[in-house]
């Protein structure tokens, strides 16, 4: 593994590289710290739109020519938006690596960001949003994120809304690109059939024209807390099933209690043998799956439970999730459950780092989340220090069963609405058509 310090105006480019010579293929991804929370509230979707528009042509070649130049190399140029970063890159046959890096550089340093291509991407994103609204699970996730964080920047959807996309101009995209794609925001993750010297030289050449820029500072206020148990019922006629998401905002990735809470939530709902799966699927057969998980972002994460029962069992399943969560939040796991969850995570660690690309992903993620560079190297030692007292303390400090947001997509009638409203602690039930917020 070779690492270089974070890139400065003229210094080396921050790079995480894990070589693997087994096959003549390499993976190179360029990550830029940023993400949807940085989008202005009225321009949600700007980060995703900018990243997607980036690969629609350069000042040297149009979109069609660029796409063909990339793909003849056996490569893909994939853009992705995460909450804390955007990325650009993909796999390539080693024999074409230099040509691929040159194209990556061209895209980043000399993007065309043509107005007509930006408009095309906007229409694509709007169509994708509309298609997502036809999928119960996707619609539930969009509403859940919105309800969880409200108007806070963490509630910004990566794809924006039809209205926010409409407002974004080519000038907005150009300005955002200038802010985002700079050396001080960049971390390169590379794995496969390549070496540090060759990659470093090729990146220096390809990205020579990239400005140093200013890093985007992750400086957001804490997200709001919910009051009471709020339930949003998204009404879709003739549904056999009722996908449920339930949870609340939670701690961030660098919080000292994050690992202990991760262990506890893993025992509560992270595996087939954990409590939720046993209670919902194994004992009752109510849902194909039932889980709980902790998604960690820089300064705030999400605790979320999921299940997907038949509509006839929907109210009982929500009640069961509430009840099990309340018990868990009050008492945590038993000693045996915590030991089992912790030891299972520890023994499974080799799978987390089995391949070169997985190792790179962990190290890049640590850097982007503000974790120490040796986070993955010391993970097992820190995990070993998690006992039930620490896990329980984290659960009791961080989980809030009285402040849950719950979203369910199903066929709603008055009886179901009333039954949900009568569940313990429910303070608010909204019935909405199953459409985008």
């Amino acid at each position: 593994m070779s690492k270089a310090p974070a890139g400065g105006p003229t210094g080396p480019i921050a790079t995480v590289l894990v070589p693997d010579r087994a096959f003549p293929v390499a993976h190179v991804n360029l990550f830029f710290a940023g993400g949807p929370p940085f989008d202005p509230a009225h321009l949600q979707g700007l980060t995703t739109l900018t990243n997607r528009a980036l690969i629609r042509g350069t000042r040297r070649r149009g979109r069609v020519e660029l796409e063909e130049a990339v793909e003849i190399l056996g490569a893909e140029m994939i853009t992705a938006t995460r909450n804390h970063a955007v990325s650009l890159g993909g796999p390539v046959l080693t024999r074409h690596l230099d040509a691929y890096l040159t194209l990556l550089g061209e895209v980043l340093v000399e993007p065309a960001l043509a107005a007509d291509e930006i408009e095309k991407v906007k229409r694509e994103m709007r169509a994708e949003l509309e298609a997502a609204a036809d999928e119960d699970g996707a619609l539930a996730r969009i509403w859940f994120a919105r309800a969880l964080f409200g108007d806070h920047p963490f509630g910004h959807g990566a794809s924006g809304t039809a209205a926010s996309l409409e407002r974004i101009t080519a000038a907005d995209v150009a300005a955002h690109a200038q802010r985002l794609y700079c050396r001080r925001n960049l971390v390169v993750g590379a794995s496969g059939d390549l070496d540090a010297a060759g990659l470093g030289a090729a990146l220096d050449r390809a990205l020579a024209g990239m400005p140093a820029g200013e890093p985007l500072l992750w400086d957001f206020p804490a997200p709001p807390r919910a009051s009471g148990r709020r339930v949003i019922l998204l009404d879709r006629p003739d549904r056999a099933q009722a996908p449920i998401l339930s949870g609340h905002p939670c701690l961030g990735a660098v919080d000292p209690e994050a690992l202990a809470l991760h262990v506890a939530i893993s025992g509560f709902g992270g595996n087939f043998t954990s409590r939720l799966m046993q209670k919902v699927r194994v004992e009752r057969g109510w849902s194909y799956g039932a889980s709980a998980r902790l998604s960690l972002e820089r300064s705030a994460g999400t605790f979320m439970m999921t299940a997907s029962p038949a509509r006839a069992n929907a109210v009982d399943t929500v009640a069961l999730l509430f009840d099990e969560f309340e018990r868990f939040a009050a008492d945590g796991l038993t000693d045996d459950e915590t030991d089992f969850a912790r030891d299972s995570l520890a023994r499974g660690f080799p799978f987390s780092v089995e391949t070169a690309s997985l190792q790179v992903a962990h190290r890049v993620r640590a850097r982007l989340l503000g974790r120490p560079d040796d986070y993955i190297d010391t993970w097992l030692d820190r995990l070993a220090a998690v006992d039930n007292a620490r896990a329980r303390a984290a659960v009791q400090a961080q989980l809030r069963p009285a402040e849950l947001v719950t979203v369910m997509v199903c066929s709603v009638d008055a009886a179901l609405e009333k039954a949900i409203g009568a569940l313990p602690g429910v303070t608010d039930v909204e019935v909405r058509p199953a459409q985008l917020p």
Binding site: A22, E67, E68, E71, A75, P350, F351, V353, E354
Partner: protein, 427 residues
Amino acid sequence: MKTHLRPIETLRHGPLRVDRYRLDNGLTVLHQPEHRAPVVSYQTWFRVGSRHEQPGKTGIAHLFEHLMFKGTAQHPEGEFDRIIEGLGGRNNAATWLDWTYYYEEVPQSGLETIIALEADRMANTLLGPDQIETEREVVMNERRERVDDDPTGRLAEILWDTAFEAHPYGRPTIGWMDDIAGLTADDIHRFYRTWYAPNNAVLAVAGDVDAERLMSAVHAAYGHMPAAELPPLAPVAEPRQTGQRRVEQALPLSAERLLMGWHAPAASDPQAAALEVLNEALFEGDSSRLQRALVTDGELAAGFYAFVPAFREPGLYEVSVDLREGVGSDAAEEVVLDAFAAVARDGLRPAELAKAKHRLETRFYRQLQSAQQRAAGFGYWEVTADHFGQLFTAAEQLEKVSEDDVVAVARDILRPEGRTVVRGVPA
């Protein structure tokens, strides 16, 4: 050397070596040693899937896959998963047309434990009424989630059911809801005794384990099991489709969805590689013809996918398009048909052919990264094409595909009159 420790075949490809073993009872073992990480992927592939089911009994292969986790006399319900999770491992299973497979990924120290567990449930799974009923409900919920309430799942089920008149590939692997409800304990016991036997199974093992350790443990755990008399599989010929078939289904959608299918060759058929290359050129990547015609420039669709079947017998090549709001699926159908007709008439440009092959080469290497991927590749091809080496042969065949081969596929397979079309329209 003891006979069970001696490979009956060794195949090398680049840095990979795969050894084949066979126990006296017919159990096949494929072993790919790989010592870069202290993990092992252990997969059990049974040559039975929904293709082997009888009308009225659909879904039994899949339901039985669920029941295989319900315990034995030695390991009561719940213990199997608990032991694997205790090892730090993960496990799951899947069922499809030709096969059912079970996999475990564990640290290499857990190998003997996994072998003992898998051997035990191959022979001794208990199937009590309570377990059957609970799991039947779970499977019904899975069907509601993946088919009944999933527009694409629902349309795909209709497409395959409509496209196949005779062959059991037309029946849904998850089963018709009424059939799932009607499966009896006797049906399930009979299915287990018929198909779950060492001579109908392939163990695919990749990772940090040497041959002597693996085969000693396998021999000890499985060697005593008797082979079963497997029922002969009657070949079913699907009549050549001579006219298009069309179905329209109203669904709670905001925009139309289009699914199209063409009968396509079996995985081991030489034409399969040409279809793969044609599909890559037309449907995969930002520069593909259909990405441009349907999405980027044509602006007809929100998204699409195309699926090249790789089954033992001729399957269905599938194209699915999610239209944008207000766009009729007729327009997308015309675009797809025009693209096939253009290839049948003019072939691919040399750059398109080269691009497709390069992209498929990259994908081939990417699917060999983890132990789980490698074991899955060997197991899959062993039960689908009767030889794990087809994983490598298929990649070589892709490289040899010529423009004439692609044109022949467009003419022979992607005939307009051979298509089945299902339109999902907003209710």
